[in-house]
Amino acid sequence: MLYFTVRRILLLIPVIIGLTIIMFAIARLLPGDPVALAAGPNATQAEIDALAQQFGLDQPVWSQYLRYVGGLMHGDFGTSLLTRRPVAADIAAYLPATLELVFAAMFLAVALGIPLGLLTAVWRNRWPDYVSQVFAIGAISMPRFFLGLLLQLCFAMWLMWLPLGGQLPIIMIPPPRVTGFLLVDSLLAGDTQVFRSALAHLAMPAVAMSLSPLATIMRMMRASTIEVMQQDYVTTARALGLPKRKILFKCVARNAISATLTVIGLYFGWLLGGTVLVETVFDWPGLGLYATKAIVSQDMMPVIGVALVIGLLFVFANLVIDLLYGVINPKVRYS
């Protein structure tokens, strides 16, 4: 187990190298002149050249790349052309907000999706099952940003129950930064007012993000539950008189969840990379918004940095899922 974990963590190194190469290739080999864009519309050619030299963009691609990787080892993700701030500092500032959003959405999706999937499998081919199937396909088909707009329209603009966007009102003083997660930090500081406000701000974006994974997890859970219920060992359990409740929650649920885990891992990556749209709608100060601004101005260092961080988090999440899988499914541990 330890051997496996260590090996998987070591495997992250080639992933980092590969990711940086791909992103670098996109950043440098595709057409577009980010320096000119950053220098502004009225810059002279000399000013542009000076800027390029300052950022080392006049050098050949491979030497830029080597310098970048060399910087990575010291935790240096390069400098943003646009803000002239180190990318690492920006990411450290924006990442917790994104993670908070992703964790909240994932929590909703898993906490509701798994029991709902189990229930609809039991009610298979009866009307609650049909209704939830239609709901699930509808939820997957709903564009997150449109759903976000509808939520805003309904709860923020008409009913005025929830704030329109952002993470915290400007007038509120954020708690001292410990974990970076506003909910956790405000609780640590004992500031219930900030906590409640943070929760209210989080509610709509989290719901908008969670709907699609919720529906997918529910469908996956339903499908694997149905599949597991047709397994021979469930027939044996029934034939030997185990009570229905026990069969469902013990024999079936565990095996079905282990099949659903993979989807959860994949969705974690999907959510991390997909915060862009929801962050745009809700003006959520996270990585997605940061990356969008950088992309629009073709400021590539932040984009590479964000892609790298999200990619690594995704790989890490899948490592956790694999380990969990081994815990739930004893056979994997040995074969």
């Binding site: 021979d232 060992y233 359990a237 034939a239 030997l240 008189g241 009570p243 565990r254 095996n255």
Partner: protein
Amino acid sequence: MDAPLLAIRDLHLTMSSFDGEAHVLNGIELTVRRGEIWGLVGESGCGKSLTGLSISRLLPSPPARYLRGEIRFEGRDMLKLPISAVVALRGKKIGMIFQDPTTNLNPAYRIGEQLVDVALAAASHDPTILDCPPRAGRRERKRAARRLAAAMLDRVGIPNPEARLDNYPHEFSGGMRQRVLIAMALIGRPDLLIADEPTTALDVSVQAQILKLLKGTVADHDIGVILITHNLGVVAQTCTNVAVMYAGNIVESGPVAEVIERPAHPYTRALMAAIPTKETRRGALQGLGGTVPNLIAPPPGCRFAPRCPLTIPACTRALPPAVDIGAGHTAACIRVEEERAAVHA
């Protein structure tokens, strides 16, 4: 003679599918007493597994539908009991073993836990199984169930049972897994054991051991067994009685020696002629032409008539009744008397 353990009378079952409703069991008659091992034998699709599953009502409905008949287990008709009462009998009064030992154990749990679960479920209907005080708490009952599980593993011949309880199914060989499943089926002290092709997935050498274990169990506990198999050799070596099934009918039944040595129904004879024995000379094996009839629109009269070498027009008029030909031996063929006369002449 005491009351039979199980009496199936005129059981008719249909299964609906895309193509229509198939009449898969067509008047099954079967009586099992304690101490008997009934072999239920026939080719695939003849309804032997469906008969086994019907006894403990394990077929989902729909598609299954019982037209008429009764399945009396210890006098009570399983088809009329509420399903909760049937569930109470499963594992406790009726044990079952299935074909594939690799897929019939839950891969996610240690076998000890699986055995304990079955024991506890059975004990909820009959607390004496666990052999612990009636007012015992949960943990005490669990410990008793674990002791029982170890004892059962020991009884089915698994060495070092205490330690093996903590193993997962994939850590056992195929034969050992089937032993675990037998222990699981017997842990609730059933009176009737239904074994559906228990040795088909196993090697010949392991098969012999498992069959011996089954025989020993019947002798030790005076239970009744229904052994479902397609292998007449297994029946001959293991069973006391045999019922030969064809297309949803029992065409011949009786004590094993009677049926094997003096098969009366043309289908039984064809089946036996198709099995190579020591004496069969090369090229002398007799296959059986044709295929099992479509049960959505079965042929009129005797369902074997289209493939039977002895068919006469009368065969297709009505389903032939089972004719008693002595010593508990019956055959459902209208020509059985003249055939026997011809053989004896």
